[in-house]
Symmetry: C2
Subunit: 95 residues, 2 copies
Amino acid sequence: MKQQEVFRALADPTRRAILKRLQRSAASAGEIGTLFDITGASLSHHFTVLKQADLVRTERRGRSIVYSLNTTVMEDLARLLLDLVPARSKSGGKS
Amino acid sequence: MKQQEVFRALADPTRRAILKRLQRSAASAGEIGTLFDITGASLSHHFTVLKQADLVRTERRGRSIVYSLNTTVMEDLARLLLDLVPARSKSGGKS
DNA sequence: GTTACATTTAGATGAGTGTCTAAATATATG
DNA sequence: CATATATTTAGACACTCATCTAAATGTAAC
């Protein structure tokens, strides 16, 4: 997991909202764009960051490009965070 | 949980390293400072961000100020992330 | 190929961030 | 109170980032 890229990607509220939308189902860029009051260019920038972090996958479908969530990375991240928490002597934390 | 502050705090690698150090045990600012090649002023800045996010607690002990991890916020965060992951129809995710 | 739609790229701008040096504050000790 | 140690605050600087407009690219349909 590209740790730094992932944390950076999650630091922006718009990107977190995008992920939340994708949680429901995959969606095209334009479809997601209707949810936010930003230009397509800005949206594209956010997708670039999310892709760099491997948080989303893309697939061209006709004219549109469909984005979907990469749940694996998010699970890794949650595990990593729980590892930051002591007093959980269940599974050993790797440094 | 101050979601935006928390994500922002975690976006910096030095701050994540600080949290990782605090996972082992509480420590004073100076003690933590020996681990990084930055000035005390920069370190203090990072502590401010971590405090704003409620990720650490402080306690004065003589001349030093001792920092310790606030595990509650980190657990909240991990739960929030797992909520971002679908295909986990165990507990309902609140929006 | 041209027109229409969907997304990305290029370049610019203003706000935010990490870092530094220097000065200030706080606590302990002589 | 003066000195030493520990941390914070103030101000500055370079860099990153989110956003925009305008232009370019890619895909489909005519």
